[in-house]
């Protein structure tokens, strides 16, 4: 199948700052694709370029076979984009905002009531139709913004950190909506700094410093972790974990809430590791073999890259 979005060798700098360097990925029709990474990874720059708000310095980006550098109008009319910051008119009501964007996108007038009805149904904003957008809660604002980007039935939806600053309940609800949209065949590119949200995506790209460190389904990426991992769970431990890091079989140690995640060499014996760790911390500890999380995957990739750089 032809990819709906194709990014190849994309680079973009702001002055001397390299925001994105040589990024390539494809998004297939109907996919929910996640761009995962910390602030400054290049997520926003990539998304803004995809929706033709920025011009690429190098590389080719196409949406539906059209080049983002030249075919602004064509791409803009089939894409829905939701910027990171709430960007609707706070002094317009929910309905006025929806109608305004319907007019901008030239949504056929006879279809408009049906579409607005449908958007109200999934966003549950109907009771607030007359409320000013500025007086909505954070979660409702995001749902209204999403509704406005959906009013013209876009083929591609580009959402820049839609759940940042939104309460956990609304976040869950928001992801449910996204999955519903994907069921309906909308292709979605979404960015998030939250690893737990990345699990909702069909495929993800882990971005760091403008590069893709890894790409694939969340399951693939987790399986791809070749080194075993142990958790040291003990809330009494307040210690210098650099001692554990110095053990020969230990590759790396990460603090993870109130526990430590210890990555070790492939053929490490669990009992020996437990003895060694207990020895350095001068106390009997219990180590538990765990499956790595996406966050572990992310950290492992960043460390690998740092090791390469050295």
């Amino acid at each position: 199948m032809e990819p709906l979005v194709s990014v190849s060798d994309f680079s973009k700098s702001y002055g001397s700052v390299h925001a994105v360097r040589g990024l390539s990925f494809d998004v297939h029709p109907g996919e929910l694709f996640g761009l995962i990474g910390p602030d400054g990874a290049g997520k926003t720059t990539t998304m803004r370029t995809l929706v033709t708000l920025l011009r690429p310095d190098a590389g080719t980006l196409t949406v539906h076979g059209r080049d983002v550098a030249t075919e602004l109008k064509a791409i803009r009319s089939i894409t829905g984009y939701m910027p990171q910051r709430f960007s609707l008119y706070p002094d317009l009501s929910v309905e006025q905002n929806l109608r305004f964007f319907a007019d901008l996108f030239a949504v056929p007038t006879d279809e408009l009531p049906v579409r607005i009805e449908r958007l109200y149904r999934f966003s549950r904003l109907q009771p607030f139709a007359k409320r000013l957008a500025g007086r909505l809660s954070g979660g409702m604002k995001q749902k209204l913004a999403l509704s406005c980007t959906l009013i013209h039935n876009p083929v591609l939806l580009v959402l820049d950190e839609p759940t940042t600053g939104v309460d956990p309940v609304s976040r869950t609800e928001f992801w449910e909506i996204l999955r519903e949209l994907r069921e309906e065949g909308v292709t979605i590119v979404v960015s998030t700094p939250y690893m737990d949200e990345a699990l909702h995506c069909d495929r993800i790209a882990i971005l760091h410093n403008g590069r893709a460190l890894a790409m694939g389904t969340p399951a693939e990426l987790i399986r791809g972790m070749q080194y075993p991992m142990y958790a040291l769970h003990d809330d009494e431990i307040v210690m210098d974990y650099t001692l554990i890091e110095k053990l020969p079989e230990v590759r790396s140690v990460q603090t993870f809430g109130d526990s430590l995640h210890i990555t070790v060499e492939i053929d490490t014996d669990a009992e020996r590791l437990q003895r060694h760790v207990s020895a350095v911390v001068e106390k009997d500890v219990l180590l538990k073999r765990i499956d790595p999380s996406l966050e572990d995957v992310f950290i492992a990739h960043i460390e690998e890259e740092a090791a390469h750089a050295e």
Partner: protein, 367 residues
């Protein structure tokens, strides 16, 4: 095209009427400005304080002093001054002028002999000095004609002043103020309206729609044309009521010309907004680009003909220059379009040029 344009215009009206505080400022600020500036900016002198050194001390010399005191331009009560104190009095700004009447003043009246009245004028402000000089001369002339029968009159200039017989400078300044305030407010309206959308991020959201630059630009200008016209009407009415500035020409013509001028100023504001990212930058940019040139170079205070050539070139591209000629001609002289069509054409031309340039410069991307 039309549907998107109407949508933007409708949205802009909602912004204008929902934010009634800003609306009040937009409506009241011009009136406040015209009251403040209208009363402050005047070249007429009243209440000139004068000192007298009367060496003659006769009935005639006292009559001369009274001639000064009675005419309304000078204070009614002169200071008696000693020669040694003159400098001190000037420094303390107690008097603007000292009149010295010579000892032989009364004897020479009505004879062939002449005596000189000395005027010592504080001309630290040359404008004030000139006025004091002129007024004093007039007072002396009137006195001479009355008291000096034998004054040999060779010929006399008898001026007749058209359009502003009292030489009242408010009639000259208030139309200029209308031009200044309209330019400032209108340019601010559009430049801030666009900058606000950039600042709050809504511009990013509109840009990803298939909207055209000309739709955004026109959609911003048209609603504010109405607001600008409302402003123009309020300023002109306040000028009539507060300063008694005449309106001798056609009100309709003045309205049409104001419409053209407001359109130019709004387009100018848009032009500024294409370079400004934040409301603050837009505001300061607009203040700098409108107030200074309009006051200094448009003929608002200083005649363009006496400027150095470089400044004259600048004056010739300022919209206010043409609107000033038009509004003064309509209000003070009652001139019709037949004498103003060239200015009207140039003004409209500048407007079309500006809005075309603003549309061209309007960026459809974020960079």
């Amino acid at each position: 095209m039309r549907r998107r344009l109407i949508a933007i215009i409708r949205k802009e009206f909602i912004h204008i009427f929902r934010d009634w505080r800003t609306l009040m400022i937009i409506i009241l600020m011009p009136i406040m400005m015209i009251v403040l500036y209208g009363y402050a900016i005047t070249l007429d002198m009243r209440n000139i304080s004068f000192g007298v050194i009367d060496d003659a001390r006769t009935a005639e010399s006292r009559a001369l002093v009274e001639a000064f005191a009675e005419n309304g331009f000078f204070r009614a009560w002169p200071h008696e001054v000693r020669r040694a104190d003159i400098e001190q009095l000037f420094m303390q700004r107690d008097v603007d002028v000292v009149i010295v009447i010579p000892r032989e003043f009364s004897e020479t009246l009505g004879t062939d002999r002449r005596s000189s009245i000395q005027l010592i004028i504080d001309a630290a402000d040359s404008n004030v000095g000139t006025f004091v000089h002129n007024y004093s001369e007039q007072v002396l002339q009137i006195y001479n004609r009355r008291m000096n029968g034998k004054l040999p009159v060779l010929f006399e200039l008898s001026p007749r002043i058209f359009y502003n017989p009292d030489m009242n400078s408010t009639n000259f300044f208030v139309p200029g103020l209308v031009a200044l305030i309209l330019m400032l407010i209108s340019a601010l309206l559009t430049s801030i309206a666009i900058a606000r959308e950039k600042e709050t991020g809504t511009m990013e959201q509109i840009l990803v729609s298939p909207v055209h630059a000309r739709e955004i630009v026109l959609g911003k200008v048209l609603p504010y044309v109405l607001l600008g016209l409302l402003n123009a009407a309020m300023i002109i009415v306040s000028a009539r009521i507060l300063f008694d500035v005449p309106l001798r020409g056609s009100l309709l013509l003045l309205g049409l010309m104001s419409l053209a001028y407001v359109f130019v100023a709004l387009s100018f504001g848009l032009m500024i907004s294409t370079a400004a990212r934040t409301q603050l930058v837009a505001m300061f940019g607009t203040l700098m680009a409108t107030i200074l040139p309009t006051i200094m170079l448009s003929g608002f205070i200083f005649p363009i003909d006496s400027m150095p050539p470089v400044l004259q070139y600048i004056a010739n591209v300022l919209p206010a220059t043409y609107f000033l000629i038009i509004i003064r001609a309509i209000m003070l002289k009652g001139v019709g379009l037949e004498a103003l069509w060239s200015q009207a054409l140039i003004l409209t031309g500048i407007g079309i040029l500006l809005i075309a340039a603003a549309t061209r410069r309007f960026r459809m991307r974020l960079e």
